[in-house]
Amino acid sequence: MTEKAKCDCCGGNIAIFPCVGGSNVGQLSNKIAIELEKEGFGNLMCTAGIGARASGIIKSAEASDRIIAIDGCPVNCASKTLELAGFKVDSHIIISELGIKKTKDKDLKENEISEALEKTLEVLKSE
């Protein structure tokens, strides 16, 4: 992944926070966030940094125009972490509700990645 810090002069900052949980859907949340960033949809940011109250991450989230939380399952760790830190989540994706069953498998399947990405984009573009 190409690492970058976006200059705010360009405007339109969208922060993407995946749960990166210990399941297939948790790992898929991260993969989807990476793919969204590659497509120019927004900036992948560290959800753990929000939990840790890391000043750089908190301030980056505050500077974002829109916050997207991608959770693997309805435990909603990413969105709850953001809300507990005082952020309003503008868009919330739950991978397991896109038709992908939660398992303990951490090896991602290509068909599940493309399915989850397609459905996530559908949801985000419809909002």
Binding site: A5, C7, D8, A54, S55, G56, S60, A63, S64
Partner: protein, 77 residues
Amino acid sequence: MKIEILGTGCSKCNKTKEVVEKVLKNTGVTAEVVKVEDIETILKYGVMITPAVVIDGDVKIVGKVPNEKEIQKWITK
């Protein structure tokens, strides 16, 4: 006190440095001002959007040019 201005060289980043230096001059506060353009150093702070201001390791603002009042509050605390 060490004040780092994080940014890759855009106009907002340059403006941030100007404002910080102006406030330092007006208040008489002594600080080392460093412009950080190296992306790896910027990312070490978890900063994803620039410009940003870091004072003694603490990120104070990200994504916008701070106003003079804000800077004064940070440096006289």
